[in-house]
C-alpha cells in the first residue's frame, strides 16, 4: 500500500467542521478589522516603498529571530522552537489542504518525508512551549510578567500540538501501517493504545477536540499577544523606512497623536520585557517602564477607536476592562529620557521613544499636565531662545579672553562653523568644554568661527518634549542663519544638537522646494578630533599615566552609532589605560539628563540614574571619567559630588582631557 493519509477518517458530518472553520476565520478576520480600524486612525507619516532591506530584515528578524537571540540565547532558542514549530505545522496544514482539494501529491516517499517533518516541527513546538513555561513559572525570569494571557496562549498552543499527536497515535494504532515508524512521535503515542478497538471508538471524539482547539487558536490570535505573528513582520518591515515630517501647520486638532506606524509597533509588542530590563528610569526605581507605556497606549487606542464603540454597553465594558488594569497615568511619560535603550533591544522595533514624543506633544498642546519646572524651562526657551534664562549678551561670554571669530560680524562663513549650543554656552561647568575645544582647534590650526550672540537654540529641547511648534520655529531660525552666512560645515559640542541637525532637520527640509533646501554637513566634535588625530594635526607626545573610562552619551552612541571616534582619540594618547564600564557602547546607561529631564524637577526614584552610572565608573578603578556631552558632563559631575567620589574620580569632557594631554593651558597661557 502506498503511504498516504485518509483525510476525515472515521469522521461524520464533515460540514460541521467547515462551518466551525468558517466561524473561526470570521472571528479572526473581525479581530483583524479591529486592529486595522485603529491603525487607519493614525497619522499617515510615510509612504511604504518596496525595500530589499525591509525584506531581508523580515527574514533575518522574523524567521531566524536575529533580534531575539541578541543578548538572550535561551529566549532566542525557545522562541525559534515555537516559531518554526508553529510555522511548520501551519505549512503542513496548508499542504494537506492542497493535497485534499487541489491535487493529490502526498503519497509514497513524499508523504513519508511530509509526515516525518511534521513530527519534528510538532515536537519543536512542544519543547519550546514547555521551555517557555519553565522560564516564566519555574525559573521566573525577572523581566517576564505572569498575566492570564501569558498562560492561556501557550497552553492552547500546547494543547493543539498534544491533541494532534494523540489523534495521530490512535490512527496509527488502529491502522498499523508499515511506514508508521517514520511518523515517530505519533508511533510512540500509538504504543500506548494496546487495544485498537477501544482506541477506534474514542478517535472521533478526540479528533473533534483537536479540531476545536485548532480553530479556537485561529480565532484567538487577534485578541491576544499572538497577534504579533501578524503585526511584528509589518513593524520589522517598516522599521527602516524614513519618516515623513508632519509640520504643526498641517495637523488638525482631531488628529490622533500616533502615526499608524506607531500603532502597528504597539500592536507588535508581546510584553517580553527586554525594554524593562534596560530602561534607566525603571532601573533607578522610577514608576515608569516602556512596557507599561506601550500597554497603556495600546489600551487607550482600543478604547477610543474600537469599531463596536458606538454600542454603549460595549463601550462601557471595554472601558471598564482596560481602566481596571491601568497601571499608568499620562504624566508618567515625562520620565522617559529618550535614551533609546528600549528600542535597541526590542525584537520587533517598538519605537517607544517616538511614541512617547508624540504623546508628549499632545500633553504640551493641552498644557495642563506639563510638570511646573518644565513649563518654566519651555517658557524660557521661547523667551530667551535657551532654557537657561540667559540673555543674548551672555551667549558669547563663554569664550572669555579667547579670541573667537564671529561669523555674524562677517559676510559669510569661512570654513568650519562651531555650533556651541545653549548649555555649553551658558553652564559654567559645560563652558570648559567649549573653551577646551576652541583651544584645540586653534592649536591644530583649524580655521573656525561661531555664530556668537546670534546663535539660536537648535530646537532639540523643544523637540524632545513635543513642543513641535517651538522646534519648527527654532529650526527655521537656524536654517535662515545657515543660509545667510553660507554655512555648510558644522561641528557641535552637544550630541543633542548633532542629532537634531543630522536626523530631525532633513525630514522637514525634504518638504520644501529643492531651491529652498539647505545642505550642510554636521559632525560631532569627537568625530572632528578623531580626524585631527588621524591626519596628524593633533600629536600626543607627552605620556599621561592615568586610568580612564568613557561614558557613551546616548545621543552620540545609540542614536548615531558614534562609538569608536572618542575611544580612538583617548587611546591615541600614550600612557592612557582605557577601562570599559560594565555597560558600554550600545549598552551604555543614560546619565539621566536626556529627554529634557535635566530641565525638570527630580522625579520619584530610589536612586539617581547619574549616581548609578558614576558607581559603574568607580567600579572600573579609573581615575578619570571622560564623556562627550555637556548634559552628561553636568549630570555626572553632580553625581560625583553627591556620592562622595570627589577625591577619587574626576569627570572630564573629552576636550578637557585632550587639552590636558597636549598641555595646552601652559603652552597658550590661556585658561
Amino acid at each position: 500500500m502506498t503511504p498516504s493519509r485518509t483525510s476525515y477518517w472515521l469522521i461524520q458530518h464533515v460540514w460541521v467542521f467547515y462551518l466551525l472553520a468558517a466561524l473561526a476565520v470570521g472571528v479572526f478576520l473581525f479581530g483583524l478589522v479591529i486592529h486595522v480600524s485603529v491603525w487607519i486612525k493614525g497619522i499617515r507619516r510615510q509612504k511604504i516603498p518596496f525595500s530589499w532591506r525591509g525584506i531581508s530584515n523580515l527574514f533575518l528578524d522574523g524567521v531566524f529571530g536575529r533580534r531575539i537571540f541578541k543578548g538572550d540565547i535561551a529566549a532566542g532558542t525557545m522562541h525559534i522552537l515555537i516559531l518554526w514549530g508553529f510555522l511548520g505545522l501551519f505549512m503542513g496544514t496548508v499542504l494537506i489542504s492542497v493535497d485534499y482539494w487541489l491535487f493529490h501529491f502526498l503519497s509514497g516517499s513524499v508523504y513519508i518525508w511530509y509526515s516525518t517533518c511534521l513530527e519534528v516541527v510538532g515536537l519543536m513546538l512542544m519543547i519550546g512551549i514547555v521551555w517557555s513555561l519553565i522560564r516564566r513559572y519555574l525559573q521566573r525570569v525577572p523581566r517576564l510578567e505572569r498575566c492570564i494571557e501569558d498562560f492561556t496562549v501557550v497552553i492552547l498552543l500546547f494543547a493543539v500540538a498534544l491533541s494532534g499527536f494523540v489523534v495521530e497515535g490512535i490512527r496509527l494504532a488502529v491502522q498499523r501501517p508499515e511506514w508508521a515508524k517514520w511518523s515517530f512521535a505519533g508511533h510512540w503515542v500509538s504504543l500506548l493504545f494496546t487495544q485498537p478497538q477501544g482506541a477506534q471508538s474514542i478517535y472521533p471524539y478526540l479528533w473533534w477536540v483537536h479540531a476545536l482547539l485548532s480553530l479556537g487558536l485561529v480565532a484567538y490570535i487577534p485578541f491576544c499577544k499572538l497577534f504579533h505573528i501578524l503585526a511584528a513582520p509589518v513593524s520589522i518591515y517598516l522599521e527602516n523606512q524614513p519618516l515623513q515630517a508632519i509640520p504643526v501647520e498641517t495637523r488638525s486638532p482631531n488628529d490622533e497623536v500616533f502615526s499608524y506606524r506607531d500603532m502597528i509597533f504597539l500592536d507588535a509588542c508581546t510584553r517580553c520585557g527586554r525594554c524593562v530590563e534596560v530602561c534607566p528610569s525603571t532601573g533607578a526605581g522610577e514608576p515608569f517602564s516602556p512596557r507599561d507605556f506601550i500597554v497603556w497606549a495600546r489600551n487607550n487606542l482600543l478604547m477610543k477607536h474600537h469599531p463596536l464603540n458606538h454600542i454603549t454597553w460595549f463601550k462601557d465594558w471595554i472601558n471598564h476592562r482596560y481602566k481596571k488594569e491601568q497601571g499608568f497615568e499620562p504624566q508618567k511619560i515625562w520620565h522617559c529620557t529618550t535614551c533609546r535603550a528600549c528600542l535597541d533591544v526590542c525584537p520587533v522595533y517598538v519605537a517607544t521613544l517616538d511614541s512617547i514624543r508624540q504623546a508628549r506633544s499632545k500633553l504640551v498642546e493641552e498644557g495642563t499636565q506639563v510638570p511646573p519646572l518644565l513649563t518654566q524651562s519651555l517658557k524660557n526657551l521661547y523667551k530667551y531662545n535657551n532654557p537657561w534664562e540667559a540673555t543674548k549678551k551672555k551667549r558669547a561670554q563663554w569664550s572669555g579672553d579667547l579670541e573667537i571669530p564671529d561669523i555674524s560680524q562677517s559676510e559669510k562663513a569661512e570654513g568650519l562653523c562651531y555650533f556651541v549650543g545653549c548649555t555649553t554656552s551658558m553652564d559654567i561647568r559645560a563652558q570648559e568644554l567649549a573653551r577646551s575645544f576652541a583651544l584645540i582647534l586653534k592649536h591644530a590650526r583649524v580655521p573656525f568661527s561661531t555664530l556668537g550672540k546670534k546663535e539660536p537654540c537648535c530646537g532639540d529641547i523643544a523637540r524632545r518634549v513635543g513642543e513641535d511648534g517651538l522646534f519648527e520655529k527654532q529650526m527655521e531660525d537656524c536654517i535662515e542663519l545657515f543660509q545667510r552666512y553660507e554655512i555648510h560645515d558644522i561641528v557641535t559640542s552637544s550630541p543633542h544638537c548633532f542629532h537634531t541637525f543630522r536626523n530631525e532637520y532633513p525630514a522637514f527640509q525634504a518638504l520644501k522646494p529643492p531651491e529652498e533646501q539647505v545642505e550642510f554637513r554636521v559632525r560631532h566634535f569627537t568625530q572632528l578630533l578623531r580626524e585631527l588625530v588621524a591626519s596628524g594635526s593633533l600629536k600626543f607626545e607627552m605620556p599621561l599615566n592615568v586610568k580612564v573610562t568613557y561614558h557613551d552619551p546616548c545621543y552620540l552612541g545609540r542614536h548615531n552609532q558614534v562609538f569608536d571616534d572618542p575611544r580612538d582619540v583617548i587611546t591615541a594618547i600614550p600612557g592612557v589605560q582605557m577601562m570599559e564600564m560594565a555597560h558600554n557602547r550600545a549598552d551604555s546607561l543614560c546619565c539621566g539628563g536626556g529627554g529634557d529631564r535635566i530641565w525638570q524637577e527630580d522625579l520619584d526614584a530610589d536612586v539617581k540614574m547619574s549616581e548609578i552610572r558614576i558607581r559603574e565608573a568607580e567600579d572600573t578603578g579609573a581615575e578619570i571619567l571622560i564623556t562627550a556631552c555637556p548634559l552628561c558632563l553636568i549630570m555626572l559631575e553632580d553625581a560625583r559630588k553627591t556620592t562622595g567620589l570627589e577625591d577619587s574620580l574626576r569627570v572630564m569632557d573629552l576636550n578637557e582631557f585632550v587639552v590636558m594631554a597636549l598641555d595646552l593651558h601652559k603652552r597658550t597661557g590661556l585658561e
Binding site: V248, E249, R251, P253, S361, V364, E365, E366, G367, T368, V370, P372, L374, T375, L378, K379, Y382, K383, Y384, E389, A390, T391, K393, E467, D468, G469, L470, E472, K473
Partner: protein, 262 residues
C-alpha cells in the same frame, strides 16, 4: 457664569540689565522680553478652570499698544473665548485710578458674574487697579485671593494674609477679585496652542470709542505723578571671603549665625 479677566503685558526683568532713559521717566524697553504679568497669568488660569467647571464665557481685556495682542493670544490659547484690546498708548503715565478708569469704560457694559485681575503688575506695582475698578463698578471685592469656591450666586474666597494666616469670606456675585500667585499652577501655552487661536478676532477699541477725553488719560488724568525713576545704588556690605575651603565655610556659618538667620 461669565468671567472677565484684565491682563497686562509687562517686561520680563528677572535676568535683564535694566536701563533708564536720560530724563529718568521710563525704563528702556527695546532689549527687554515682554510677557504676560505673572499675577494675571494665574488669574487667567483660575478663570479658565472656573469656566471649565461651571460653563460660561471668558473674556480677557488689556490696555496697551498693539504688541499687547500677544498676551491676549496667550490668554485665548489658555482657554479664553473673547479678547478686547484697548489700543491706547496714552496710558503709559497714568496712575492706578487712570488705568482703572480706562478699563472701567470698556467693561461697564459687559455682562459678567466675576471680574478677575492680578493682585498687581510687576512693572508699576500699583496693586490698586482691580480695587479702584471695583469701586467704579460699584461691586464688592476681595484682594490677595488664593482660593475661590463657587456656590449658588455667591462665592467663598480665601485671602492670603500675613504670617501664613488666611481669611475665608463669603462674597456675593458679581464681584471683583484680585488674584495672588500660587492659587493654581498655570498651564503651559504651546506655539501649537497659540496657532490654534490665531483665527479668533480680537475686538479693538480706543479712548475715542470709550468716550475718554484727553484730560482723563495719562499724566493729565492722574492725581499721582511719577517724578523720577532711578536704579537702586550699588549697596555696600559685599565681602569676599578668603582662606581655605574650611575657613571660608566656618566664616560663612559665623556670618549666618551673627545675622540671626539660624
Amino acid at each position: 457664569m461669565n468671567i472677565v479677566v484684565c491682563v497686562r503685558q509687562v517686561p520680563e526683568v528677572t535676568d535683564a540689565e535694566l536701563e533708564i532713559n536720560k530724563e529718568g521717566t521710563e525704563i528702556l524697553r527695546e532689549d527687554l522680553e515682554m510677557d504676560i504679568n505673572e499675577w494675571d497669568n494665574y488669574a487667567v488660569e483660575e478663570a479658565v478652570r472656573i469656566k471649565e467647571a461651571h460653563g460660561g464665557k471668558l473674556t480677557v481685556i488689556t490696555l496697551g499698544d498693539e504688541d499687547s495682542e500677544d498676551v491676549l493670544r496667550t490668554s485665548l490659547a489658555m482657554g479664553a473665548d473673547e479678547a478686547i484690546l484697548i489700543n491706547e498708548e496714552g496710558f503709559e503715565l497714568s496712575d492706578a485710578a487712570g488705568i482703572a478708569q480706562g478699563i472701567y469704560r470698556a467693561v461697564r457694559d459687559l455682562s459678567f458674574d466675576l471680574l478677575l485681575t492680578g493682585v498687581q503688575c510687576s512693572d508699576d506695582g500699583w496693586a490698586q487697579v482691580g480695587l479702584i475698578l471695583a469701586e467704579f463698578l460699584g461691586l464688592p471685592y476681595a484682594s490677595l485671593v488664593v482660593g475661590i469656591e463657587i456656590n449658588e450666586g455667591t462665592m467663598t474666597v480665601r485671602r492670603e494674609l500675613e504670617s501664613n494666616t488666611e481669611e475665608k469670606l463669603q462674597i456675593p456675585m458679581p464681584a471683583v477679585l484680585t488674584i495672588q500667585t500660587g492659587i493654581n499652577s498655570p498651564r503651559y501655552v504651546s506655539i501649537m496652542g497659540i496657532q490654534k487661536v490665531r483665527k479668533i478676532e480680537i475686538r479693538e477699541t480706543n479712548s475715542g470709542e470709550l468716550g475718554l477725553s484727553e484730560e482723563e488719560i495719562g499724566l493729565k488724568g492722574s492725581s499721582v505723578a511719577s517724578q523720577k525713576l532711578s536704579l537702586p545704588p550699588v549697596g555696600e556690605g559685599a565681602e569676599i571671603l578668603e582662606g581655605s575651603l574650611d575657613e571660608i565655610c566656618e566664616k560663612t556659618a559665623q556670618i549666618v549665625r551673627d545675622k540671626g538667620v539660624i
